[in-house]
């Protein structure tokens, strides 16, 4: 697990997972969308509590490797101010076969989104801003608006 304050470079991260025993590579990227929950988004700000985010992210990666027969799995999350179109989070998984590569990649991003101490504040075109609610809380149908970046 890495927390990055600079641009995520998916092609470099991918190359670090190259393995002659790998037949499948699945990657996920979360990009900053220009809209969310009916609002036009200008940019996004990620606050990360790094010591715990790294430890919890590594735990998620270990869980993925224990559950699925993958070769390599990695995740990088940005912090700070991000513009529309920028990559906020990258997950890459290699495995002999695609079943487990897809499953592990999906597991990792799902867990990272709800377990790591990371928060995002959306800055809207109209000038206001707001902290985005947890995806899982939103899915569970509580009163706060459903907001999900990706």
């Amino acid at each position: 697990m890495w927390i990055a304050s600079d641009r995520i470079e998916p092609d470099q991260l991918r190359d670090e997972l190259l393995d002659p025993a790998a037949g499948a590579y699945v990657s996920f990227e979360g990009w900053i969308r220009n809209h969310n929950d009916g609002e036009d988004v200008l940019r996004l700000e990620y606050e990360v509590y790094t010591p715990v985010a790294l430890a919890e992210g590594d735990k998620v990666l270990e869980e993925a490797k224990a559950q699925f027969p993958v070769l390599h799995a990695e995740c990088v999350h940005r912090e700070g101010l991000l513009e529309i179109g920028e990559c906020a989070v990258w997950v890459g998984v290699t495995a002999a076969h695609r079943d487990e590569a897809f499953a592990a990649c999906r597991f990792i991003i799902d867990q990272v989104k709800v377990r790591l101490p990371i928060w995002k504040k959306e800055h809207y075109v109209k000038g206001h801003s707001g902290w985005v609610n947890c995806e899982r809380c939103a899915v569970h149908g509580h009163e706060h608006p459903v907001r999900e970046a990706s």
Partner: protein
């Protein structure tokens, strides 16, 4: 008996509290007690299950005991990715 606890606030909690950290002396047993006693600071109306807590940089459950000298991190609902 009162315990000396350092509390750190994050994201919306920090903005509501107007500070990122404070030390308090309070008669608290668990992490949940810390959260409840500081409602005026973090201002959260969220169910406790939506928020998370760490003690000394370890994620823990809300019913984990706090000890004198611990640092308790109060995390509002997370939203990575």
């Amino acid at each position: 008996m009162n315990k000396q606890i350092t509390v750190k606030y994050f994201a919306g909690f920090r903005e509501h509290a107007g500070l990122d950290k404070e030390t308090l002396s309070a008669d608290v047993e668990t992490a949940a007690d810390v959260f409840a006693s500081l409602k005026h600071r973090h201002g959260s109306a969220e169910p406790l299950g939506h928020c998370k807590v760490a003690i000394n940089d370890e994620m823990v459950d809300w019913d984990t005991k706090v000890n004198d000298g611990d640092t308790v991190l109060l995390f509002p609902p997370v939203a990575g990715g």
